[in-house]
């Protein structure tokens, strides 16, 4: 990967699938960036809050421009750094990419992220309900994605090139299989995509365990 020297900072957490999406985009475009690890405690750190009062991650800082929300960040990067375009030209195919991204970002991830599992499920019901709940949310979303994508021909989600949909699918598939024990057999199209993503260096370099703040846990 040839890296372009730019003034980019990414506030990220190694386990955050939203940060994972942006890391893939940066890698595909060959953009070097400074990785700033955000922990639970830094979210109440006055310095972090001064930069980003929203305490969201990921956050991209490009010069003096601060931007949050993974989809907004990826589209901003795609506009500003057009190498390795992350959206096709065809408008209906672009719409399909946005649709897939949002099934992940609005229907699956919000209901199985650590914040929701720990602050709602664990507190309201108990720790034993976290995994079954997360699995039910993921299965519901994956069932819809499988139907949406099964007729798409090509190596990746919406064709033979990697696009936005793949950037959202890869981290979600990764956490579904690694963290939430979803069986690969249940969703053949998604399973095939998961295997494809695992073989691409831009995705591999974005894996949680490869990040500077990764912690080994058994």
């Amino acid at each position: 990967m040839e890296c372009e020297a730019v003034n980019l900072k990414l506030y990220s957490h190694w386990m955050s699938s939203c940060s994972f999406r942006v890391r893939i985009a940066l890698n595909l475009k060959g953009l070097k960036y400074h990785y700033v690890a955000v922990t639970a405690s830094s979210k109440s750190d006055p310095e972090f809050l001064k930069l980003n009062p929203l305490a969201l991650i990921p956050v991209l800082v490009d010069g003096d421009f601060v931007l949050a929300e993974s989809l907004a960040i990826i589209m901003y990067l795609d506009d500003k750094y057009p190498q390795y375009p992350l959206l096709p030209h065809d408008i209906p195919k672009r719409a399909l990419n946005f649709q897939v991204a949002h099934i992940v970002a609005s229907s699956i991830q919000p209901f199985q992220n650590m914040g929701f599992l720990n602050n709602f499920i664990e507190k309201k019901v108990g720790p034993h309900e976290k995994l079954p709940w997360a699995q039910s949310v993921i299965r519901k979303g994956f069932t819809a994605l499988e139907k949406l994508l099964k007729d798409q021909a090509g190596r990746y989600a919406t064709g033979d090139e990697i696009f936005l949909a793949d950037l959202f699918l890869a981290p979600q598939l990764y956490s579904a299989y690694k963290r939430f024990n979803i069986s690969m057999n249940e969703f053949p199209s998604l399973s095939r995509l998961h295997e494809a993503y695992n073989g691409i260096s831009a995705f591999q370099e974005a894996f949680p365990e490869k990040q500077p703040d990764a912690v080994n846990s058994d």
Binding site: E69, P92, F98, H102
Partner: protein
């Protein structure tokens, strides 16, 4: 003609109705009664396997998810643009819409609240209010320095299209106290002065009051 599958009370459907009105795009309204479960019919499943509204059908193209539909309309129908040319303000609009679409609205969607109540018997209204307040606090911080007449300046854009129904939903269904969010409250008053806002609002829809 464009066909919009919508439910009168759905804030996601409202976003698209609002966008269509603002862009002056005529459309055929097809009501999907979420209370009766019409979203689970085999015909609707073919349109959207996630069983949500809105869904837009434009000739042979079918798009679901309001964020995807919005961007599709914006790219295909370029009159009265709802995204600015300036890349940073454009990105800000995408961010605000994304915050609403992914971090606020999903947590007070009727189907999600029902699933949580069914699975846990848990009281969900307070949780929904907590998530709305958390999201509105973040939006207030973000917007207080960038808002003009509208959310990101003097023109109505994507952020406004997503904010307007969200604020109304928060006030009408979840009793959110908007005095805590002066910028959002001011914007809401501005939206209420727009003919397109009323034309797209729930009570103006063909299926209004048919089921609650």
């Amino acid at each position: 003609m464009i066909v919009l599958y919508s439910y009168w009370l759905s804030s996601c459907s409202w976003r698209i109705r609002f966008a269509l009105c603002l862009k002056g795009i005529p459309y055929e309204y097809k009501a999907v009664d979420l209370v009766k479960g019409e979203q689970f019919s085999p015909e609707f499943e073919k349109l959207n396997p996630l069983h949500c509204v809105p869904v837009l059908a434009d000739d042979h193209v079918v798009v679901s998810d309001s964020y995807a539909i919005f961007l599709y309309l914006e790219e295909k129908y370029t009159q009265k643009p709802l995204l600015p040319v300036d890349p940073q303000i454009r990105a800000l609009n995408l961010q605000i819409a994304s915050m609403i679409n992914s971090s606020i609205q999903p947590y007070h969607m009727i189907s999600a609240l029902k699933d949580m109540e069914k699975m846990f018997g848990a009281e969900t209204k307070q949780w929904a209010q907590y998530k709305i307040d958390k999201g509105f606090l973040a939006l207030e911080k973000l917007l207080k320095d960038v808002a003009g007449k509208y959310a990101t300046g003097e023109h109505i854009y994507m952020a406004d299209v997503f904010l307007a129904p969200q604020i109304m939903q928060a006030v009408n269904r979840f009793d959110i106290d908007m005095s805590k969010y002066p910028t959002l409250r001011r914007l809401s008053e501005t939206y209420k002065g727009l003919a397109e806002f009323y034309a797209s609002s729930p009570q103006s829809q063909p299926d209004a009051c048919i089921s609650q």
